[in-house]
Symmetry: C2
């Protein structure tokens, strides 16, 4: 029953084809001039996870945002580039009405075998989700922001205030869950990995023309690990190292409250300032 489906699942729904799958943009996950990149990335990942030839779990997904996506349906050309014993390499091209490629993605899936485990990274300190204050709903007009329950621990943007006279920290720390709670899976991790506010907004405390150009997310838990976590929010930290000649970077981590690092994410983004 679609009526009972979570908005996120509705927004990232795909229809199977052979090599051509179909999806469509969602007004519920809309950003500046097109769909929220995280929803697009999750839709692409869903087509791969649902693909009959898929084996293993997502290990990495790189999404290159080549051109704006218009409101409406799109095609996903899905291709298994190379399959090995335990890994698969995929490419996905998103087009609309036969026009140029708007989004271009490559993914690696892997059958993750048991091994020595070691996690040098530590869960950043934060009060529990329940104790943190939700980010006010009305702060931003983009619809995708309203689909998430952001709870900033550090670096909450105060867009009502004046731009910073001196650059502030580019780092932020927040809890993030779906506004209507939904168990964290690979799809929501993928989407949340693009659900950070632009680092430049944190540094300058102002909204500027901004767009992710290329995004890569690495998954450090497999589907079994993730199901075992049984969580509906993650602790998300991000930072930037440099803004130069119209492009800036971002690195982020998505943490289970149970101290497990679930995913790391990196991107390069355009800005006008």
């Amino acid at each position: 029953m679609l009526a009972k489906q979570h908005l996120f699942d509705d927004a990232t729904r795909v229809t199977a084809g052979d090599s051509r799958w179909r999806g469509q943009t969602s007004d519920d996950y809309w950003a500046f001039v097109g769909p929220f990149g995280g929803a697009t990335a999750a839709t692409i990942l869903r087509a791969l996870i649902d693909h009959p030839q898929r084996s293993g779990d997502p290990l990495s997904l790189t999404v290159n945002f080549c051109a704006p996506i218009a409101q409406g349906p799109f095609d996903l050309d899905v291709r298994l580039v190379k399959a090995n014993r335990s890994t698969q390499h995929w490419s996905v091209e998103l087009t609309q009405e036969g026009a140029d490629v708007a989004t271009f993605a490559t993914a690696v899936f892997a059958a993750r075998r048991p091994s020595w485990s070691h996690q040098p990274a530590q869960l950043p300190k934060a009060p529990p989700f329940e104790a943190a204050r939700p980010y006010p709903k009305s702060s931003l007009t983009m619809s995708w922001v309203r689909q998430y329950d952001f709870r900033f621990i550090e670096g909450e943007p105060q867009f009502a205030g004046a731009p910073h006279a001196e650059p502030a920290s580019a780092s932020s720390k927040m809890w993030i869950g779906d506004r209507v709670p939904r168990k964290i899976d690979m799809l929501s991790l993928m989407s949340m990995s693009d659900a950070f506010f632009g680092r430049i907004f944190h540094v300058r405390n102002e909204m500027l023309p901004f767009g992710t150009v290329s995004l890569t997310t690495y998954f450090h838990a497999d589907a079994e690990d993730l199901a075992g976590e049984d969580i509906s929010h993650v602790l998300a930290v991000a930072d930037a190292r440099i803004f130069h000649k119209s492009y800036g970077d971002q690195s982020g981590e998505l943490w289970s409250p149970n101290r497990r690092l679930l995913a790391t994410t990196h991107q390069i983004a355009y800005f006008k300032a």
Copy 2:
């Protein structure tokens, strides 16, 4: 005159085609079971930089290593996926004798316009290159290692010693330059971004089966910036956050001695332990 060419330029040489370019592996840049991934990545980048349709400078390059590359020639299928006013999206598929794709890459090029600049990241502290001790040549048998002048500041591997009883730090800090000095350009930055030793070697102080699966490098300087640096070595730091179910991550930074962050790099790698 090829005889006067730097080994690196020889190793990453390409022959132009329309959409199909040619390259070949170099015995001078050989790793465990195939060519050094950095040389492969740089060769792919060279084909793009030399391409008549290329405009702008490399902004990001993602390389997915799908299968071993055999010694000998290879074809590069180069495709301009989408061109905008100031960015280009490319894909490159490396094949040998018409077999399956062995390496699959996507790249973004951008005409980088002047903008507000801000570099929150700081050059890590290190004695100057000249004062640092070169890593002994004979430690490793892989030929690519001999093409670089590594000078560790922190985390120098001691493979002659016993494996660590407890996991050591995954981080390392080193100067790196070509063994035969060569001015740093986009190609050498790309190659050096894969010239870190596997993080697991640092943590365990032992060599184990290891292979990069997917590598993404972001360039934070354009060709003009880089030419202005006029350097032949960079300070390279790297760290890892997690090793789990046969895969581990790595994030690295490549710094000009002049305090400019030139590139950041991220990868997910397979290990057997």
